[in-house]
């Protein structure tokens, strides 16, 4: 606990942490000082002057240093003018007056000034009804304006800042919350002020406009209706909507969402709802341990897949080679018969059940039960691995990235967090800015490098070795030895793959940098070993299943060896590609090599996964049952297709990468004949002669709680618990977080409030002794012929859950492949051409693929970066790739003359 300071606010004695701002201290005792520009997550700016108060400070006798007394009380010195309470920290003996006539008059005048050019078009404004300016004008403003109405500045009212956000220049009160958010919190200064004074306006010059994954958050924090989202434009008035708690399904962070819903007649985007309940917008729901107040734009806009008109609505059964609609009874009967085949119930050894991380814990549990009961195998559909280790070395309960600061180390291995899990990117970045030591080990430059103290480069395939080297001092000594100029002749493998450099001055000459790089690795390793707390993130940048498995293994050993296990704010956090992959691992499903697994089985039941879309070369089972939202490539090959409910239509729970179990609730009624995944699986189980619980998600969760040790004692009610401790505030000292908590928020209206559950982190098992021994991870044996194609993740991809969102589709861009300039030159591809050159990518055993070449130094030599889900299925690094130039599509004629 930091030093406490006593002061008086409006005759109330207040105790606040040293360094706290008056506005926060007042909030704590229930005195609301009106603010516009101040936001507890942002650095104070003092731009709007709304928070002016009278401040008196005790007069100090210079000779003695003691307060001067007057009539038994300390003598106070009031400033001649009012001061901004949002920029002034509290001090001992301070007296603050927030309700004097002088203060009230000042507020009145400030509002009058702010409204000099405000259009007062509240009836058509999307913010109207949840607008701080509206509320504070009503509370503190004058009834009339002395300014001439005709002299208002009339500015553009419809300025698209990119495709997602609209700006109304007239409404802007120049508080700068959006600009400061983008600069300080998102680290993406793509919007800025232009001009000054009354002419000041918000502009963007990025390509495309307002090019940030976090742009939607600016509409939430805008205290007026200046920034509004294109998605919600004129969608509904805030008071007409109800909020339903949900969890984002797009990555392993598990951001808390609130869906605002209402009844509609018209339906939007051709959605099927006529007079039914539709989702009008998705907002972040405050959870200080998960997403604070933010969500990324994917989470905000991509939920729209759940209301896509292409959703499957009825069960389909293959009849005469065609998938034809059928009743549930017929489809279930047919599916059960087909899955069983010749074998007796309970002995269907050839049955393979595949579920993906898009499913809830309840669904995955039911799938496992079904596979076990039927006698078959259950697998988790995942391109990553290592989840089995997390029960021992995962993030310990009580872990909160917001509490990491000085003395903590965060290691990010093989992950471009900005693309894979944007909210973790934000929080890791902020931890680094609070003083945590950030170590980024990646095969290529990532956005996080900028905030890292140590950047470690490795060659793709050698991730696990680098991680092992961090925990293994003899090996580090070897590295230093190897990097010494004198030892240059020694072909030390490690030396050539380590190139660490301070991010600001990225060393250009690799040769010269080597000793320094090795030294940095040693420094990084020492920092990691000595750290009070250490968190490790591992992702899937350039990794396949086995690669991820060995990286996870190395990370687990590193954490175990440095004793960063089992304490809050320590442990391993996997950056899974889907929301509930962790739940899959926890519930006993394992990622399997589908090539061999499918080879070994004759029947398959695939749920919420599209393996044939991702890899058409997989062997086909003789009978295939698919349970999906859309008619995917896999569903097209199926004998029976069951239509499932989207996550917005049902309840369930997810387990996030931090092993936090969180609950979500149904927001809209189910589409047509769709059923929840667990119910379909349970019924299918019944047709297979099994007794499976399928009546409700809560009932299944109760079963999970009794059968799975990690979930012991958890109930839906427990997951729905919230506490008052919603700490608001970008606490500079993490220990101050508690001081700045306040349930009443600074942003009247917007749906941050969390009343439906903060989730519960799973406890850890005791560490198995095998993990404590550091073991050298073998380098992945990648052949050196040709280029190495590695899969990387891009946030907006061509996945089924992104495409239906009309807004995000514009941001996806064309298929691309990352190429190093030297490799491009060798292949005869012109760099720096605009538009980018189109190349033909040739991978052994894969269909040929055309993509725009991104030729720059961000791609290491000898490597091709292939984005996942952008057209070329690639699940693991693949050597022997090559590229060759193709004439740009625009000139069709020329292209057709090219040899195919």
């Amino acid at each position: 606990m930091s030093k406490q300071v006593n002061l008086t606010i409006d005759n109330q004695a207040v105790t606040a942490a040293e360094g706290a701002l008056i506005v926060d201290a007042a909030k704590k005792v229930g005195i609301n000082i009106p603010v516009f520009c101040y936001h507890p997550k942002l650095e104070p700016a003092g731009m709007c002057r709304m928070c002016l108060v009278e401040i008196g400070r005790p007069v100090i006798d210079r000779a003695t240093g003691a307060p001067v007394m007057e009539g038994g009380k300390p003598k106070l010195q009031f400033g001649p003018k009012l001061e901004t309470s949002c920029t002034t920290p509290v001090s001992e003996g301070m007296v603050v007056i927030t309700n004097s006539e002088k203060v009230k008059a000042a507020r009145k005048d400030v509002v009058e000034f702010l409204l000099t050019s405000h259009p007062l078009d509240c009836p058509v404004c999307d913010k109207g009804g949840e607008c701080p300016l509206q509320n504070l004008t009503l509370a503190h403003g004058p009834a009339t304006s002395r300014f001439l109405f005709n002299e208002k500045n009339h500015n553009a009212k419809h300025v698209p800042l990119g495709d997602l956000i609209y700006l109304d220049r007239e409404r802007c009160i120049q508080c700068g919350r959006c600009v400061r958010f983008q600069e300080k919190i998102a680290g993406d200064p793509v919007i800025g002020f232009y001009n000054r004074g009354r002419q000041m306006e918000i502009v963007t010059f990025s390509e495309p406009g307002f090019d940030s994954y976090f742009s939607g958050n600016t509409t939430d924090i805008c205290p007026v209706g200046a920034l509004t989202s294109a998605d919600f434009r004129f969608g509904a008035r805030p008071w007409e909507m109800k909020a339903t708690a949900s969890i984002c399904t797009h990555c392993a962070v598990g951001c808390n969402l609130a869906f605002n819903v209402r009844r509609e007649v018209g339906g939007k985007n051709g959605s099927p709802s006529k007079g039914g309940i539709v989702i009008k917008r998705a907002l972040p729901r405050q959870n200080e341990a998960v997403n604070e107040l933010w969500i990324c734009d994917k989470g905000r806009f991509a939920y729209q897949y759940s209301e896509s008109p292409t959703r499957l609505a009825t069960p389909l059964v293959r009849k005469d080679g065609e998938l034809t609609p059928a009743s549930w009874d017929v489809a279930l009967e047919y599916a059960a018969e087909g899955l069983l085949g010749e074998s007796k119930p309970g002995q269907a050894k050839d049955l393979l059940v595949i579920g993906s991380g898009r499913l809830a814990n309840e669904d995955l549990f039911t799938l496992r039960k079904l596979a076990e009961g039927a006698g078959g195998q259950a697998a988790l559909y995942s391109q990553s691995g290592g989840g089995d280790l997390l029960a021992q070395v995962g993030a310990a309960p009580g872990t909160n990235l917001a509490s990491l600061g000085k003395g903590s180390v965060i290691l990010v291995v093989a992950s471009d967090l900005h693309e894979e899990a944007p909210i973790w990117f934000l929080r890791v970045k902020q931890a680094a800015e609070r003083g945590a030591t950030l170590i980024v080990a990646a095969g290529r430059p990532t956005r996080l490098d900028r905030y890292a103290k140590y950047v470690i480069r490795y060659a793709y395939g050698e991730e696990a070795q680098i991680v092992a080297a961090l925990g293994d001092s003899p090996r580090r000594a070897e590295l230093v030895e190897a990097a010494k100029p004198a030892a240059a002749a020694k072909p030390a493998a490690a030396a050539k793959l380590v190139e660490a450099a301070k991010p600001a001055a990225a060393a250009k000459t690799v040769e010269a940098a080597k000793p320094a790089a090795a030294a940095r690795l040693v420094e990084a390793a020492e920092a990691f070993g000595k750290a009070e707390n250490a968190l490790v993130f591992f992702g899937s940048d350039g990794l396949g299943q086995s690669g991820a498995q060995s990286v996870a293994q190395a990370c687990a050993q590193l954490l175990a060896a440095t004793r960063h296990v089992g304490r809050p704010n320590n442990g391993l956090i996997p950056v899974w590609g889907r929301a509930n992959e962790q739940g899959g691992w926890e519930l006993g499903l394992k990622a399997a090599n589908l090539q061999t697994a499918l080879q070994a089985s004759t029947t398959a039941y695939i749920v919420a996964a599209d393996p044939y879309g991702d890899d058409p070369s997989l062997p086909a089972p003789s009978f295939l049952v698919v349970q999906e939202l859309f008619l995917t490539e896999t569903a097209r090959r199926a004998d029976v297709v069951f239509p499932a409910q989207a996550f917005t239509e049902r309840d369930g729970s997810f387990t996030s990468g931090e092993r936090r179990v969180q609950r979500y609730y149904p927001a809209t009624p189910a589409l047509a004949d769709c059923r929840p995944d667990y119910a379909i699986s349970a019924e299918l189980g019944q047709h297979l002669g099994l007794k499976l619980e399928g009546r409700s998600a809560a009932a299944i969760f109760a079963q999970i709680a009794t059968e799975i040790p990690a979930y012991k004692g958890l109930t839906y009610r427990r997951l729905a618990e919230t506490t008052n401790a919603t700490a608001i505030g970008a606490a500079k000292d993490p220990r101050d977080a508690e001081e700045r908590r306040c349930a009443d928020l600074y942003y009247s209206g917007a749906g941050y409030e969390n009343t439906q559950g903060l989730g519960v982190q799973l406890p850890l098992q005791t560490l198995s002794p095998a993990l404590s021994k550091p073991a050298a991870a073998p380098a992945a044996q990648l052949s050196k012929t040709g280029l190495l194609a590695v899969p990387v993740t891009q946030l907006y991809d061509l996945g089924q859950t992104v495409l239906p969102s009309a807004l995000l589709r514009q941001r996806i861009g064309e298929a691309w492949v990352g190429v190093n300039p030297a490799d491009a030159a060798e292949a005869g591809i012109e760099a720096g051409a605009a538009p980018a050159a189109i190349v033909q990518v040739v991978l052994p055993g894969k269909p040929e693929w055309r993509a725009a070449a991104r030729i720059d130094e961000r791609t290491p030599r000898g490597v091709l970066l292939i984005p996942r889900s952008m057209g070329l299925p690639l699940n693991a690094p693949l050597p022997g790739a090559s590229i060759r130039p193709v004439v740009r599509r625009d000139s069709q004629e020329a292209a057709s003359q090219q040899p195919a």
């Binding site: 200064p189 004074g197 502009v203 010059f205 990025s206 001055a505």
Partner: protein
Amino acid sequence: MMMLKDTYSAEIEATLAKYPPENKRAAVMPLLHLAQRENGYVTKSALYEIADLCGVAVTEVASIMGFYTLYHDQPGGKYRLQVCTDLPCALRGANEFLEQLCANVGVKVGETTADGMITIEAVTCLAGCNKAPMFQVQTGEGLEYYENQTVESAVALINDLVKR
């Protein structure tokens, strides 16, 4: 398109060399001046180029350019004649002066003469209140102050400038 790098490579090098490599952003303002020397205003492509040279976001460069009134984002005359019309100057007749000057030159405030030589602008505080009406002339090289002006003296100056 003409790039700054092609025209002023030496000067860009020299400017960048003045600042430590991790503070390249310090070079934004000198480079904006350089870009403005070329056309009398900063083109959009120059913004992108400067952002690239200094390693800052282009929106930040634009914000800096937008903040300072001596950078222009619109083409103007070769000489920009900027008359201060703040309250003290207005009390000393700056508004009438500006009006008459414009009428004499034949343009409106903010417009450029047909020959592309002179743009007349109204600006705020040039710190010459006691000698108003006054204005400054912004040229490619720098600023010149003219104080205690009359319409006649201003018109004479304009004629001079056009001949320069």
